[in-house]
Structures are given as C-alpha cells and as structure tokens.
Amino acid sequence: MAGLIGGLMDMDKGKIVIQDLNLWFGTNHVLKDISITIPARAVTAIMGPSGCGKSTLLRCINRMNDLIAETKITGRIIIDGEDICRSQTDVIELRKRVGMVFQKPNPFPKSIFENVAFGIRVHRLAKGADLNLRVEMALKQAHLWNEVKDRLRDNAFSLSGGQQQRLCLARCLAVEPQIILLDEPASALDPHSTARLEELIIRLKKDYTIVIVTHNMQQAARVSDYCAFVMLGELIEFDRTEKVFTNPGDKRTEDFLGGKFG
C-alpha cells in the first residue's frame, strides 16, 4: 500500500498530501497515523462505519476542527506545498480555497441570492453587476439556476432539501475554491435528489479536487475515482475505487463491503 501512495504522488502530484496525521479530542485518540495522497481533479471517497473518524479527517483539511476545544493534531497536511496544520496558516484564506458542504443542508435563513453572495461579499471578490453575474454562474454550476432564477429573493428555506444542498454547494463554489469537501452531503436527501447531486459531483471533478465522506458504499462506488477505507481512526486501505471494490487488499475492507458491519 505504501508503494501505491508513493506511486500516486509521482503520477499525479497529489493535491492534498496527508502525512502521519494524528488527532486527539482531549484524551480520545480519534485519528491514528493517517497518510494519504489525494489526487487533483478527481473524486476521492472516504468511507467507513459511523464514528470511525472519517468526518473528522475531512474537517482537518479546512481546519474546521479548530472550533472544537482541546483538539490536538500532529503530522502534516500539505496543500500546494504548504503545511496547513501550522499555526501561522491563514485559516480564512485556506477556507476560501477549500470549500465545504455539510451533512445537513445549512443555508442561511436569507434570500437565495444572499446565500450565494455571502462568500463573495466577505472576500470582496465582486460587487454590483459583477456580483449578480458571479451568483448566477455559481448557481448554474450547481445546476440550480433554472429552478430558482425567478425567485432569487425568496427565503432559502423555501427550497426542498435537495435544492438547499445544491444551494450550499453553489455558496461554496461562488468563492472559487480549488478543493471541495463534502461531508455525507446526500445523507439527508431522498433518492432522486441524491442522484442529481451525485451527477453534479461527477461533473465538477474536471475543475475541482473533491473529497467526499460517505458511509454509503454504493455511493462511493458510483461517484469516486479513489477510495479510502477508514476504521476506528486508522486508514485500512486506499486505492483506485474499482480495485477496492473488486479486489480489496484487506480482510476488514472486504467485510465492510460485504455488509458484515456498517
């Protein structure tokens, strides 16, 4: 496995390189010696049983764990040659580059337009007509424009769950990130909305590096190019998705995929 990780680095100059990452919440050792190289412009899925630390791992990449008191992290996460775990890292700038969509759609209780405009305003990327254009572009990218173009002033809570989640994606795309983190984005959605979202994820990967956390292995199989299997805070396996699903290298991965636990 170590060979593969090195190999990936050579062939694709990993977008996100995680080295020997350990994380504790207080005395609870949540992530253990995780090393993984996430390739650019592809979808990488992180799967594993509930509570295995996969969301925590994802939240390391944009430093959202900073919000939790008594978090201790060792190791390195290198994005574009910079170790983002260091305290000097500009977290604001990092989160602009690394966008995130959460498990439960969390639009702001404002208008649809304001939701998307929020990030653009905060980063002073545009205003006036330029702002309108950017909002439109982000909504188009998230395949939401046709559904909302006549009701941009409506409250975002008037949208359906699937639309809200695509709105959250548009909100994140509006600040032009390079990496998008998706934390079980479809777990609160119905099958139809899930299918639309997955289709969207696959389209976005030609421009973005996407990391998606999911406990749904069919979803991982459908959308991802690479797949990491995490259990009890340890990285069990990381490889191309077809390889993991057809010929897993570890008994535990096989058991998980076979539905022995989940």
């Binding site: 008191a69 604001i92 966008g99 969390n106 209780p109």
Partner: protein, 258 residues
C-alpha cells in the same frame, strides 16, 4: 385587579390628566411631570444598559471560554438579576449619588436602573444568541468568513428579535420600579421639569406611592392615585405586549427550528 383599577381610575383619565402638572396640593391637575420623569430615567438606563449588556451577551455566548471562571461569572450575572431592587437603590446612593457625586438626580436614578437592568439584558442577549443554530456559524466559517463576520451577518440578525424582547421586558420592569429611584433622585413634588440630567424629577411609580400613602388628604387624592396606577399599568402592559408579539413572530418565523 385590572378591572378594579380601571373602574376606579378611568374617570380621572383625560387629556388634561396626561398633559398638566399636579395642582391644588395634588388633588387636581395631571401627571405630566411624572410621565416625563419616567420616560427620562428609562431612556438613560437603556442608553447605559443596552450597549454594555448586548456586547457582554455576545462576548459570553461567542467568545468566553467554557471554564470555571466563566461559569462563576455566568451564574453571578443570573443571581444579580434576582437581587431585590432596593439593594440596587442603596448601591446607587453609595456609588452614584455620593461616590461620583451626581447628587439625587435623573442621571443617578437612570444609571441605577441601568445597573439593575444590566444582568437581565446580558442574560437574555446571551440566550438569544445561543439559540441560533451552530450550523449558521459553521456555514459562514467554512467559506472563509472571520468569526466576527459570521456573528455579525449570520447570528446577530437572527438573534435580534430575542434580544429586543429582553430589552422590552427590562424596560417594562424599569418603568415600574420605585425602590431604586427612591433615594437616588425622585422627588415628591417639583414645579420644574428636570432641565438637565442633574435635576431631581417626579416619576409615575413614586407618585403613586406618594399619593397612596404619604399624602395628608388621602381620600381627596385617591382618584388621582388610581389614574396614575392605570397609566403605569397600561404603559407596562404595552411593552409586555409588544415583547410578546415579537416572541410570537419569531416562533412562527424561525423556520430553521423545525
């Protein structure tokens, strides 16, 4: 009780009652100076307690670390909200009237009431802010907003109705309090309206107290006392009602709390 007050007090209510000072040894005339005095001190108390209270609430809800020190501070603030108002009155005498030497005045009374309000406003502001779901902050932080931007744009606007309700309830309480102003500036009778904040003043609750118990012709001033009580009660109820309506509207408007 309201019916009793209303039936006894409604007869003296008139435009004159609201717009004229008392005359003929308080047996006639109106209560204008008391209304002005009450509005004046309520205004001063809020000028002091709203900015300090709301900022303290924001700090406690968003910035203060969760440790023993702040647990003690939080529970102290809640106990301060329960201290009898007469204690604030005496504190006001010691600190403002004597210590800073404002003398018995609108300023000293207003600030005493402000101190009394303060813990109440801090506590309601803190709770209103805490009631806003963490996902709003997270969503804003995750696209690179600073902590203050997240609070400013995605927490405070939604906490505002809750904070306002707390302020209105505090205001209603302020207007009805007698004890904190008793020693700090209210007066039984003055011919002049308080021209500056350092003058003494008349106020509704104390006027009522004086008419009901301190006057030598109690039967003659009784209608005036009922009228005063009715006005005070109506004013307080108005603020409570506005607060109630706001609360009701948040309950229906808060779609995120489903």
């Amino acid at each position: 009780m309201f019916y009793y007050l209303f039936s006894n007090g409604v007869n003296v209510l008139s435009w004159k009652f609201l717009t004229q000072p008392p005359s003929q040894g308080m047996t006639a005339g109106g209560i204008l100076p008391c209304i002005i005095g009450t509005v004046y001190i309520a205004f001063i108390s809020l000028i002091f307690s709203i900015p300090v209270g709301v900022l303290a609430g924001i700090y406690l809800a968003e910035y203060a670390p969760e440790n023993l020190l702040f647990r003690i501070i939080r529970s102290s603030i809640r106990s301060l909200a329960g201290i009898p108002s007469i204690v604030y009155g005496l504190f006001g005498v010691a600190l403002l009237v004597r210590g800073i030497n404002f003398g018995p005045s609108v300023l000293a009374s207003g600030l005493t009431l402000g101190l009394m309000n303060l813990p109440w406003i801090v506590a309601t502001a803190e709770e209103a802010i805490r009631a806003i779901p963490g996902s709003f902050r997270e969503g804003a932080l995750a696209i690179g907003a600073t902590k203050w931007e997240a609070i400013r744009h995605n927490v405070l606007p939604f906490a505002f109705p809750g904070i306002l309700t707390g302020i209105l309830l505090a205001l209603a309480r302020t207007m009805g309090e007698t004890a904190p102003i008793l020693f700090t500036g209210v007066t039984y009778f003055t011919r002049e309206l308080p021209r500056t904040p350092l003058h003494k003043f008349m106020a509704l609750p104390y006027h009522l107290f004086a008419l009901a118990t301190q006057h030598d012709q109690i039967m003659k001033v009784r209608p005036m006392a009922f009228g005063t009580a009715l006005i005070l009660l109506i004013a307080v109820l108005c603020f409570d009602a506005v607060a109630f309506i706001i609360r009701l509207r948040i309950a229906t408007a808060n779609k995120w709390q489903v």
